[in-house]
Every structure is written in structure tokens, then in C-alpha cells.
């Protein structure tokens, strides 16, 4: 009798132990589950919040507080203008022909000028960042010299399209002369003009107007005198312009 009782007791204890073990296993498993759930959630949350931060950094076409001075927000004599020169809507770009970001915006600008050419005046001003880009000023002068022979925009286009090529060169004088030849310009005159005091002065004046208005990066866009947050793509840029037309 007692023997049986002992056996029973043993079985009972064993069963209880198993039960404890089972409870322990469940506890352990849920602990692991929570741990990996935590790890997954924290990774997803991190990525998601970074996407949010970047997306909110530059609200679409939000206008900044930076403004051009009253004189500089108008089209100035000597400015290069595309589109409708008499339009009330003026988009001024301060740009550096050797700056990769300006190069990235170049196709957008080209498309905008064809799409909105009848509604808006697009102004190009030089802002060569000489400390960063050693050929930027020479490129600006080359475009101006081509402009003397009526081909400013053609040279501007070539310089942006082949930016990577000439940016890497030690000297660019010969390269720019080749571009001038390609455009059918009088190369001798082009070279003389590019080096002339007049054109040096003009580029410098453009730069000073940027500096006066606290431009410190390129491209800087001013829509009717107010600085734009640089749009993140063509569609965004279009939206900004369309809004300006609607407001008009």
C-alpha cells in the first residue's frame, strides 16, 4: 500500500515538474517572441522615421524668408532671359556651370522653359563658387563670350551637358574654344571676349549681386524675388510654377 503511495507520489511530483517545465518553456518562448518583436519594430520605426524626417525637411515648394532686394528681383540689363520677358512671374536662377547640382537641375530648367516659356521669364545669373570649382568662373566667361555672338544658351547647354568631362581637366581654355568652334562661333573673337575686362566684370557683377542677396549655394532659385526650397524633382518644380501662375 505504502509502496504504491510512494510510486503515486513520485508520478505526481514528476507530473508537476513537467508542468513547471512547460510553464517555463512558454515563458521563455514568449520572452524570445517579445525580444524579436521589439527588434523588428525598432528597425522598422527607425527607417520609417528617417523617411519622414527627410520628406518633411523640404516641404514642397515652400517659400523661404530669404528675399532678393527690390532692384535685384527685376530683370536687369545684361541678364540672360528665356521665356516671356514681359511676364509678371520671374524665376531667377543663381547658378554655377561647374556645380553638379546645377547640372542635375539643368534638364528640369530646360523642360520648364519649353513648357512655360509663354508664361514665365527665366533668368540665369552666374554665381561661380570659385573656392569649390576651379573652372567655374572660366566657364561663366565662356558662356558670356558665346553670348556676344548670340549663342549664350547654346554654350550654356553644352557646358552643362559635358560638365563632367571638362570639370576633370587641368585646363579648359582649349576645350571651351573647341565648343565655340562646334557652335560655329568666331573662335578668335570668342577667346578675346572670354578674357576681356568687360566680361570679367559682368560675371563678377553677377556674383556680387548673389553675394549681396546672401546666396551661398547653387543652384538658388528665386520666384518673384522669394527664395525657393529647391524642388526634389521635375514634378515638384512644375507644381511650384503652376501655383505661382494660379496666384497671378
Amino acid at each position: 500500500m505504502t509502496e504504491l503511495n510512494n510510486k503515486e507520489l513520485y508520478e505526481l511530483k514528476k507530473e508537476e515538474k513537467n508542468k513547471d517545465k512547460k510553464v517555463g518553456d512558454i515563458k521563455k518562448a514568449s520572452k524570445r517572441l517579445f525580444w524579436w518583436l521589439f527588434v523588428t519594430v525598432i528597425i522598422i520605426a527607425a527607417v520609417w522615421s528617417m523617411v519622414k524626417v527627410v520628406a518633411n525637411n523640404a516641404p514642397v515648394g515652400e517659400k523661404g524668408i530669404q528675399k532678393l532686394s527690390v532692384e535685384d528681383m527685376k530683370i536687369l540689363p545684361g541678364d540672360w532671359v528665356k521665356g516671356d520677358i514681359n511676364s509678371n512671374i520671374v524665376l531667377i536662377e543663381y547658378s554655377d556651370l561647374q556645380c553638379p547640382a546645377c547640372g542635375a537641375y539643368y534638364p528640369f530648367m530646360k523642360q520648364l522653359t519649353t513648357e512655360f516659356g509663354d508664361k514665365i521669364a527665366f533668368v540665369y545669373r552666374h554665381f561661380p563658387l570659385k573656392q569649390l570649382h576651379k573652372h567655374a568662373e572660366a566657364a561663366a566667361r565662356a558662356a558670356e563670350a558665346a553670348g556676344k555672338q548670340g549663342k549664350f544658351w547654346e554654350m550654356h547647354d553644352i557646358l552643362f551637358e559635358r560638365q563632367q568631362m571638362w570639370s576633370a581637366k587641368l585646363t579648359v581654355k582649349a576645350t571651351f574654344s573647341e565648343y565655340a568652334k562646334e557652335l560655329g562661333l568666331d573662335v578668335d573673337k570668342f577667346e578675346k571676349d572670354a578674357d576681356s575686362l568687360e566680361i570679367r566684370g559682368k560675371v563678377e557683377n553677377n556674383f556680387l549681386s548673389g553675394e549681396r542677396n546672401k546666396v551661398n549655394s547653387t543652384p538658388s532659385f528665386f520666384l518673384n524675388g522669394t527664395k525657393l526650397q529647391n524642388p526634389r524633382g521635375y514634378e515638384e518644380f512644375k507644381e511650384v510654377i503652376n501655383n505661382a501662375i494660379k496666384e497671378e
Binding site: V39, V51, V54, A101, Q131, L132, S217, T218, R232
Partner: protein, 143 residues
Amino acid sequence: MLLKRNNIIVILVLIVSFLGFVDATYLTVKDYLGQVPPCSIVEGCEQVLTSSYSKFLGLPVSMFGVFYYLLVFLLAAFYLDLKIEKILKFLSILPIVGFLATLYFVYIQLFVLNYICLYCMFSALSSTLLLFLGFMIRRNLKF
């Protein structure tokens, strides 16, 4: 005792690699979703992020950082769950590779570009911390 000390170190690895992960993710997302970084005279980040050194195999280098930190983070998480010693070995070796990449990037910023991007320097800091934590793990393990 030794195990406990390793636990603390691995938790530190977890935190540091997470911070590195967030930082690298920010830079990568910025590359794909953000504005084209303008050329600027005041800030160094644009110069660094638009330079030719910012891309490797056509991908932003920060993306490799994302994978590196994520790998370290997951290894640390695995260790805390499974307590497999082999993972510690990985956690002590992997940061050496990460640190070599860091040395290269800091060299490029200081001596080639002459510009410093703070986000990149933060990554350099977390990578260096991971190296030290890796050394501590190694000392505790003595393999």
C-alpha cells in the same frame, strides 16, 4: 561573471550599432528621396555627399553602412537571445572591417575633399566605438 560582462558589452554594441544604423539610413534615404544637395560654400556635407567618393558600385556608400550596422545589430540581438559564443567572435572581427572603411572615409574627407560631413563623422564615431567594444569582447573571450 564573464558572461554577464559580455552581456553588457553586447547590449552596448546593440545600442551603438542601432545609432549607426539610424545615421546611415538617414543619409541613404536622403540620397534617394531628398533634394539634390546644392553646391554650397558654407556647409561641408554637400561637398562630401555629392563627391564621386560618395558612390560605390553605383550605390551611395551610406547604404553599405546601413547593411553593416544592421548586420552588427542583428548579430548582437541574436547573441542576446541564443548566447552562442561564436556570434561573439563575429562581433569582435566584423568591426575591424568596418573600421578600415571608416579610416578610408575619414581620410577622403580630411585630405582629399577637405570637407567634413557631420553625419559621416558620426558614423565614424559609432564605427570606432564598435571596434573598441569588439576588442573588449575579444579580451573577455581570449580566443
